[in-house]
Symmetry: C2
Subunit: 373 residues, 2 copies
């Protein structure tokens, strides 16, 4: 179905208005919409492209998405884009396990993740697609909770959900719900942000505490307790990026350090730009709970995933101004400089340790924490 969608999202809430977390897992109070009542669970027919697929869209996805949804979530949408715009285009599949975790769920994670990938090229996120792969037998109550989180996160981020797809796999395949989101954003004129633009002398900034998302998911997956509950930091960062762009500083690189953590992002930047990166370990904002969990499990907080943080590489002389803009935004309140780019050891990231030594911060090989997004 085609659908012409106005360019500007209807309502853009205040920056930092994060979607409500998924909350508890008590689905008993959930009332199945009448047309879906034949079964409380996903069955193969929901993925068949017939009447049941249509009912799922009409009575579950569209109500959950609310104002964020295009009138119809058809096979394809026709969009008007601004004349001469450069577009950012991004895709991400989410397989996080468990699907619900402290501070969020796979639904808001999927929206925020793609919004952030777009934002890291300086783009204003505009349109998102959502494609679900559902395991037969998944409860519709859980699916509805996820779809509600998708809708809330999209409304909070001011993006329109314009097209979608639903497939169902039998119980032998899949486990629960996988969500793919793809997104389109508009890159403002004059903005040129990319991993090759880091230069010696640039400052390396981070927007706040690191390692939180990975520890949050791990703690509830493995039944580990680290004193206090660690909540995922999942959030949409394009508002923060817009405030940074508005300073007029020449932002060189932005990355959201998800899988592989800050370490993977900085190694990628160092290699792409041919610069060295020198971190100061004592300047890394690692919350105590994350530090405790990492030392208990033998993890490096630099390699643990974040879902609501960004790393920025900016010219040294602009660092203070950009930091001030970041700190004025709710999602950048804890922003600080954590290192600098150097002409030495190009392609390598090192950290100055508390003992006055230097260690190499390697690119993670595989993963420390599988399925955290």
């Amino acid at each position: 179905m085609t659908d012409t969608t106005p360019l500007a999202p209807a309502a853009v809430p205040a920056p930092g208005a994060a979607p409500a977390p998924a909350g508890g897992l008590d689905f008993e109070s959930w009332t199945c919409p009448a047309p879906l009542r034949d079964t409380p669970n996903v069955v193969m027919g929901h993925g068949g492209g017939g009447a049941m697929s249509g009912e799922l869209v009409d009575h579950l996805f569209l109500p959950a998405y609310g104002a964020a949804a295009a009138a119809e979530l058809g096979d394809s949408a026709v969009l008007d884009v601004p004349a001469g715009a450069r577009l950012a285009f991004s895709t991400d599949s989410f397989v996080v396990k468990p699907m619900f975790f402290p501070g969020g769920c796979i639904g808001d994670l999927a929206v925020n993740g793609t919004v952030n990938d777009l934002a890291m090229s300086g783009a204003v996120p505009l349109f998102l697609s959502t494609a679900y792969i559902l395991q037969e037998g998944t409860s519709l109550a859980a699916l509805d909770r996820i779809a509600q989180a998708v809708g809330a996160a999209a409304r909070a981020a001011g993006v329109r959900l314009v097209t979608g797809d639903t497939k169902v796999v039998d119980s032998a395949g899949g486990d629960g719900v996988y969500v793919n989101t793809s997104g389109i954003g508009a890159v403002p004129e004059g903005v040129d942000i990319g991993p090759r633009r880091a230069r010696p002398g640039d400052a390396v900034l981070v927007s706040g505490d690191i390692g939180v998302h990975g520890v949050a998911v791990l703690s509830c997956r493995e039944g580990l307790e680290f004193g206090t509950t660690v909540e995922s930091d999942t959030a949409a960062l394009h508002g923060l990026v817009a405030d940074m762009v508005a300073t007029g500083a020449d932002l060189h690189v932005l990355r959201d350090p998800t899988r592989g953590g800050v370490s993977a992002s900085l190694n990628e930047i160092a290699r792409a730009s041919g610069v060295g990166v020198e971190l100061v370990e004592r300047d890394l904002p690692v919350p105590e709970t994350v530090r405790d969990a990492c030392s208990m499990l033998g993890l490096d907080p630099l390699q643990v995933a974040n879902e609501g943080k960004l790393v920025a590489v900016v010219p040294g002389q602009d660092a203070e101004e950009v930091l001030a803009a970041m700190r004025a935004h709710p999602l950048g309140a804890g922003a600080r400089q954590i290192g600098t780019c150097t002409a030495e050891h190009p392609g390598t990231v090192v950290a100055l340790t508390g003992l006055g030594g230097t260690r190499v911060v390697g690119l993670p090989i595989g993963e420390q924490l599988p399925r955290i997004c």
Copy 2:
């Protein structure tokens, strides 16, 4: 990673140049690229966002995609779009089982499926994303075969693969490979094709034999034999659509009748436009093998999926001209009129049977053939 990609795909082959089918399943002759040789199979680390993820992109996906790939398949791509263009945006996840079937595999299916969704709004497909969910233990040889098919189909269709994602799920989740493709196309000025535009008096056309893809997948999944091997019709239809648009006829609706078959597409059109549809059963192009398979299994060929066919609704007076354009294209050689739109019984599709009676062609409820795409 951002990547600026020129708008026009490098090379657009002759229309109808379908990607090579996946062929046999003998992976023994496959040589694993040296940097991937530590394991012949997918492991969790390939989805971790670290060095192993990068190796998979550099040594498997990029070589397989060849000229269709952007220089880097990063988290997001920056694209230049024509001034004032209307864009079509579409997403589809593919979970077909088995992944390899006569005439194709999940890889070319995923490219052609999204290309076709874009083409059905009259758009010229330009850019595609590919997002893989891999089950731990899947052989890299099979993944490479799929990626090769993705690359070949993208090159044949003249679309660029500009951004991507890879996740790995443990053996308990997923079975094999799931592929999501999302796509962006440009809708030519003056083209307005949509499911609400059917009018009484319009002709209903189909581009060729129906029911072929569903029967092809089913036959190899269930080990059924229907005399001759039925090969999937998977193909990219945008070249055929371009030729139809070039006639200057006011094309009202185009649909590719995938899941739910011709029946689901026509029911959707009838409801969205508020018209009746009257098919003539003896005019339906159902190949003998499909007819035999359907009668053996109790399936209605109108409800069986196609992946390389389209249904068109055009003004009655333009039908002959559009049919002539379709027949001149390799993918429309078997085009014919199968029915008309009526003012009677709005929202309902009926078929005039060979015995002179009329039957209602209902919207399929769930699915006859799960996981055929």
